[in-house]
């Protein structure tokens, strides 16, 4: 027979479990409310960008900005967010209040003519920059690890399972770049802000699954770690092939302590287009 004391202990466990569930449920709910299109702004608390790597229920840590022995801000770790993500409308979400996207008429027409299978991410092709990193967790790796980096790598969980490399050793962009999905990135620190300058893109990917990019695209990312658990990426997009002037979008990223990036081989079993009727089942 179960004792009254044991029953009381079990009830406490159940109540505690419920409380944990309530807190766990409340965190993503708040995040979703911040996802509403047109929300604008770049407040950390109102612009969280979840994605396919969602579902992690860890707590974002608090504390001071960590530093390497030489004093350089340490950006290493597994992060989520920092870009427009995989969903359409992600670019607008990063605009400051009152800002608009200065898309040229021809680019707007091309965007409207795009079909569902023109989405590179749905086809398991790279989503490009600045669409990634953001929708899935990613890890920033600095080398060497004990002083200011000469190379930084951003390892993407998805989509697709790949990486960007940022040359921090003072080199310039080559003059004869081939167009590529992630472009050629050089970086440097301005105070505690990591600046990444990227050119040499192809024109196959979009900025957010919706807005186009061309081979003239020039992206400048400014990554600033605000504290232990939070980073902000202010992105300047300069692409005269599709936009009438440079414009800025800003996205927060959060540190995922205890999480790891996982394998994601997108073209393993991609059935895109069958449910939509664009591709016939085999």
């Amino acid at each position: 027979m179960t004792s009254r004391k044991a029953q009381g202990t079990r009830l406490k466990v159940q109540v505690t479990t419920l409380a944990v569930c309530l807190v766990a449920a409340a965190i993503p709910i708040a995040a979703q409310q911040g996802q509403a299109p047109g929300g604008g702004g770049s407040e950390l608390s109102t612009n969280v960008n979840l994605g396919g790597g969602s579902g992690w229920r860890g707590t974002v840590p608090s504390g001071p900005v960590p530093r390497l022995p030489d004093g350089t801000v340490d950006l290493a770790g597994v992060w989520q967010g920092g870009g427009p993500g995989g969903s359409n409308g992600g670019l607008e979400r990063g605009l400051a209040k009152g800002e608009t996207i200065p898309i040229l008429p021809a680019a707007k027409a091309a965007m409207a003519a795009r079909g569902p299978l023109d989405n590179t991410e749905a086809l398991c092709l790279p989503a490009g920059v600045p669409r990634v990193p953001s929708a899935y967790p990613w890890r920033m790796v600095q080398t060497p690890t004990h002083r200011k980096a000469t190379h930084i790598f951003i390892l993407f969980e998805a989509n697709i399972h790949t990486f960007r490399q940022i040359f921090m050793d003072g080199r310039k962009h080559p003059a004869d770049l081939d167009p590529s999905w992630y472009g050629h990135s050089i970086g440097w620190f301005e105070g505690d802000t990591l600046v990444i300058d990227t050119v040499g893109f192809n024109d196959r990917h979009t900025l957010d699954g919706n807005y186009p990019g061309t081979t003239q695209k020039h992206i400048i990312e400014r990554w600033t770690r605000k504290d232990l658990g939070h980073m902000v990426n202010e992105i300047t997009i300069d692409d005269p092939g599709a936009y009438s002037r440079p414009f800025k979008v800003t996205y927060p990223a959060t540190l995922r302590v205890g999480d790891e990036i996982m394998e994601y081989i997108c073209n393993e079993n991609n059935q895109i287009g069958i449910a939509g009727g664009y591709i016939k089942p085999q």
Binding site: G52, G55, G85, M262, Y264, E268, Q271, A275, G276
Partner: protein, 136 residues
């Protein structure tokens, strides 16, 4: 933890499953105006990316059996929400809700999966009105 507490916890967690799957847009593949709730035995599980899938044999009133393909989230989201490759087994009877394919083929984007004993499994859909997802 008794079943009532488990069920309540599952309901509380449901809104958090609305986090968007980023691989493809919902509206180019599925029809939010075609919600389905189907019960059948699992015939196959594909523990794969970009989406895990399970297939169930669904018998209609005339006895005709149709094999339905239900799309789940990515493995990564499923793993982070407690699934493993052994969570669902061939032969399990499940009641699944979701949204049917635009093309009319027997495919659906899963919004809810419930085992015969009432256990509800995490499912993630990027349907725009996911908070109003029908529950079996």
């Amino acid at each position: 933890m008794n079943r009532k507490v488990l069920a309540l916890a599952a309901v509380l967690l449901l809104p958090s499953s609305a986090a968007v799957g980023a691989h493809h847009g919902f509206s180019s593949e599925y029809d939010e105006k075609k919600p389905v709730t189907l019960t059948g035995a699992v015939s196959k599980i594909e523990w794969t990316n970009p989406h895990a899938r399970f297939y169930i044999d669904v018998k209609d009133a005339s006895g005709k059996v149709t094999n339905w393909n239900f799309e789940l989230a990515s493995l990564n989201s499923l793993r982070r929400n407690g699934w493993t490759q052994f969570t669902l087994k061939v032969g399990d009877v499940v009641t699944a809700s979701g949204y049917a394919a635009l093309s009319g083929v027997p495919m659906a984007n899963a919004s809810s999966v419930r085992l015969a004993d009432g256990t509800r499994l995490f499912a993630e859909t990027n349907a725009p009105s996911v908070q109003q997802t029908p529950q079996p």
